[in-house]
């Protein structure tokens, strides 16, 4: 998941800046507000091995995870701080035996809770227990519209079948459903069928989220990067479906920022309205922030409250607002529109998190990186490096051979 948090996307539906909605009267000089939503990565354990996983390449081991009591304390603190929504995510959040207890606690302290799940570990009883615990919304990731492509991307046999089943249970339990479809070169040809699948599943929302390239996805960029022609076709399909399905299915669309002229307003601005808590309890400006070396992140296990960390930690303050910006951001008229893009991407692609995100056409590195991506998109390297705790495993020839002919998006 997690290419999905509201502020972390370039959406074709216009800005929905929660902070502006709720605290519009705040002085423009304020670089952050009361946080609105928090992504809780309760574990990095996951039965899936998606090659674009948004988790860091260095995964937190199960033994380092916060305990039930520690997560409950976190939830209480978040509610007190004014956080309105929490996303239970991972890894696979239902890999934790205490997930129902945690959702119940979120409800008890008045938080709106969202489960971001691969669905493959859920039973109908567990889902029903989650509904009874007050779960507000279920988001299930799909890797394609049929098992050949979907199970190969997930690196797990029968995953797709199981997802369909859990999606059906979700609606039977009258819980709202979002289908999250992560798109890339090897499954974009299935988009029309994925849209229809979401309608057939009676989903309320569909997120068509193109892969964002950091962490695991950056390692797999050559196998995942779509062609420009694919992206143009995708935009056309999405825009058509948005009109056709108005009132039936809401569709949010995240374009791959390599092919955008402006960078995404990552996380709605660094440390501005959202944050993330890692399985081991690190309080992070975003789920990929630990990839930036040289930044120190505070833990919920420290002596500091989460409120203190939000307001005072060096990592949050470093890239807040516009004061840190170099040119061309500093004098750019869009500096408070996109806040210079994504710090993690700037770090991954230029070696300095304080640079302009190269996704921006105004970045001096944009041309070079865009050309490289374009070359990769036209290549024939389709083999995945699967995500796991061992630093990744290359897809085998046998697995590749079983791919249907159209798996490269032809």
């Amino acid at each position: 998941m997690t290419d999905t948090l509201a502020g972390n996307k370039t959406t074709s539906q216009g800005p929905r800046d929660g902070l502006a909605v709720l605290e519009g009267a705040r002085s423009a000089a304020e670089t952050y507000g009361i946080p609105l939503a928090v992504l809780l990565e309760v574990t990095h354990r996951c039965p899936l091995q998606c090659p674009y996983c948004s988790n860091p390449v260095e995964l937190d081991r199960g033994s380092t995870e916060l305990t039930t009591e520690e997560w409950k304390k976190v939830l209480s603190e978040l509610a007190e701080l004014g956080v309105l929504q929490v996303h239970f995510s991972g890894g696979e959040p239902t890999a934790r035996k205490d997930i129902v207890e945690l959702v119940q606690h979120a409800s008890d302290v008045g938080l709106y809770s969202n489960l971001i799940t691969s669905a493959v570990l859920l039973t109908k009883d567990k889902l029903s227990a989650l509904a009874d615990a007050g779960l507000s919304h279920v988001q299930i990731s799909f890797q394609g519209n049929e098992p050949n492509v979907a199970d190969r991307v997930a690196g797990l046999k029968d995953a797709h079948k199981k997802k369909l089943e859990v999606a059906k249970w979700t609606r039977e339990l009258d819980m709202p459903l979002t289908v999250n479809a992560v798109m890339h070169r090897q499954n974009l040809h299935q988009l029309p069928d994925i849209i229809q699948m979401a309608v057939d599943l009676d989903a309320d929302r569909l997120e068509v989220a193109n892969v964002q390239y950091y962490g695991w996805a950056l390692k797999n960029r050559a196998a995942l990067m779509p062609t420009i022609a694919q992206i143009e076709e995708t935009s056309r399909i999405v825009e058509d479906a948005q009109v056709r399905l108005k009132g039936t299915l809401a569709i949010d669309y995240v374009v791959p920022d390599y092919y955008a002229l402006r960078p995404k307003k990552c996380m709605g601005g660094w440390g501005r309205q959202f944050f993330n808590i890692s399985p081991a309890g690190k309080v992070l400006p975003c789920h990929a922030a630990e990839s930036i070396t040289g930044l120190e992140f505070e833990s919920v296990r420290s002596n500091h409250s989460i409120a203190w960390i939000w307001q005072n930690s060096e990592a949050f303050n470093r890239y807040r607002g516009t004061g840190w910006m170099p040119e061309p951001c500093k004098s750019c008229e869009f500096r408070e529109v996109d806040y210079g893009g994504c710090r993690c991407q700037a770090f991954a692609l230029t070696g300095d998190a304080g640079n302009t995100d190269p996704a921006c056409a105004l970045s001096p590195r944009h041309e070079e990186i865009f050309k490289q991506a374009e070359q990769e998109s036209a290549g024939t390297q389709n083999r995945f490096l699967y995500r796991n705790f061992a630093g990744g495993t290359l897809e085998t020839d046998e697995h590749q051979a079983r791919r249907p002919d159209d798996a490269n998006g032809a």
Binding site: T4, L5, A6, R16, G18, V21, L22, E23, I34, L36, A37, L81, G82, L84, Q85, G110, Y112, N114, S136, H137, Q139, D174, M175, P176, T178, V199, D202, D204, R205, K246, G247, T248, A250, D252
Partner: protein
């Protein structure tokens, strides 16, 4: 699914869908509607109308109630309420009670 794509009229019996929660946010001292990845800040009038949207009352009944309370012309209130509810419905923040089969 059809219940999601609603056209608000006097006979509609709207309610908030399960994924949308109306609550008073003590920290910010504002009413909010929470939905997946979204937040709305309804104004005072919208909040008053939304509190009447229980899936039982019809829009006509709500309008009667508001017209009486504010001693205002019914037609004007009807127009405003329908427009406001339709806007919320189009954004996915309002649904209609399913037809009773009783």
């Amino acid at each position: 699914m059809a219940s999601r794509n609603i056209s608000v009229s006097e006979t509609s019996r709207p309610k908030l869908p399960r994924h949308a929660k109306l609550k008073f946010d003590e920290t910010r001292q504002v009413w909010v509607i929470l939905a997946p990845e979204r937040v709305l800040a309804p104004d005072e009038i919208a909040v008053e109308v939304l509190h009447l949207c229980d899936g039982v009352r019809s829009v006509a009944q709500m309008v009667d109630q508001l017209a009486e309370k504010y001693a205002a012309p019914r037609e004007a209130i009807l127009t405003d309420v329908v427009a406001m509810l339709q806007d919320l419905a189009d954004k996915g923040f309002l649904t209609e009670a399913r037809e009773s089969t009783a």
